[in-house]
Symmetry: C2
Subunit: 240 residues, 2 copies
């Protein structure tokens, strides 16, 4: 039975971290809200009309009678099923923790353009967005990405993967982070990436995987835009 992924149409957004796992594994899935009538189907869940398993927000995944909310929860569930998680509990718990750190980073990236609140327009908080972006690029980005660089360097099996000697969903999410950050902050990333050579190498490895490459070339991969998490506002990037 095909997985049902529920996420807003028109943006990569948080749903993209799930899509990359499904695409890498070549798993059958329906991207529901991009299908005819799909928005209505998604709304029924968000309005609590299906049952108590009502998600707070997309993305959520339906797998049989399970409705799974939040990216990290979805990937924790899919990981063993798609062969994208460690076999043993210790590894699965560890990579789930890494994915939750990625969740926190994604929130901080979103806050760079919406520091005063998600319900107000970017144009009404540009000054504050500049201050928040500066703090993000100077302090938070190095802290988070330096952490992932360190975790790669500490991997006893080698720095080719974030855990063990084969691909997990966290590797895919790190690829997406680099892609998104390059789109949003091209100047800052150009100078920053030399400090995270292992993360950069991992990005390249993931990008060249056949199923990922095929997905990126397909029209299922939407381009980044200024409605998603990663937004390119030149005024928020590192100055020349």
């Amino acid at each position: 039975m095909a997985y049902e992924l529920y996420y807003w149409d028109g943006i990569q957004g948080r749903g993209e971290f799930v899509r990359l796992a499904l695409e890498e594994a070549d798993a059958p899935y329906e991207d529901v809200a991009r299908s005819p009538g799909g928005m209505q189907r998604m709304s029924r869940f968000l309005e609590g009309k299906e049952d108590q398993q009502m998600p707070f927000a997309p993305p959520f995944l339906k797998d049989g009678d399970l409705v799974i909310s939040h990216v990290a929860n979805i990937l924790h569930h899919l990981g063993p099923r798609l062969d994208l998680a460690p076999d043993e509990e210790k590894g699965r718990t560890f990579v789930h923790g890494l994915q939750l750190t990625i969740t926190d980073l994604v929130t901080e990236i979103h806050d760079t353009h919406h520091p005063l609140g998600v319900d107000d327009y970017y144009e009404d908080q540009k000054t504050e967005a500049k201050a928040r972006s500066r703090a993000f690029l100077e302090s938070r980005l190095p802290k988070f990405m330096g952490y992932f660089e360190k975790i790669l360097s500490l991997n006893p099996a080698g720095p080719q993967h974030i855990y063990g000697d084969r691909l997990t969903y966290v590797d895919l999410s790190l690829f997406q982070l680099v892609e998104g950050l390059r789109y949003a902050f091209p100047k800052a990333m150009f100078s920053f990436e030399s400090r995270i050579p292992l993360v950069r190498a991992l990005h390249g490895t993931v990008k060249s995987r056949p199923n990922i490459n095929r997905y990126l070339e397909s029209d299922r991969r939407l381009p980044f835009n200024e409605s998603g998490i990663f937004r390119h506002y030149p005024e928020l990037d590192q100055p020349d």
Copy 2:
């Protein structure tokens, strides 16, 4: 063997969501950073000197040879062991999703006093904190707490618990949210709580549980203060 909880001394913070579960279950645990020499022990993990299971930040929990990062991951691990999670996978996945929604809400609560970044002083972002707090109280608080109210109302076993007919760790976390929000925004909560009667009733039920009550009366429960997540700055509360 006793669990080892690693979290900053001096504040309730995110560690408190874990403490409430351990205390309710009367589980043996060491609050490491509050023990002599404990800060050094915590630092070794944060510096990657123990092994690859290096956490990004406290809290983390050591259970045998597992090092578990992030509140929701810790509670997902502890839930079945402390009899504070549903027995079946469907329920465990659902309550994990609820806890991740609480994680997002906690981040937004923290952002009310630090909208421009965690590394700068509150005093340097007071104006922005007022704007962010206003948006939080008008829009985000009702959205999040209204969601939990709805989930309680949809529980087929009745609205006494967030899932099924007995206590889970999510109930304990909802108690802590109400406690913290009352501390941080007493005026706003005074008028808001009539809109979430089921959440309010749940708070009262949890508070009167013998082990929780004993914990709240002990000196292990630190008072709220202006270094934690929930901070009482009167200027950020609802105006008279």
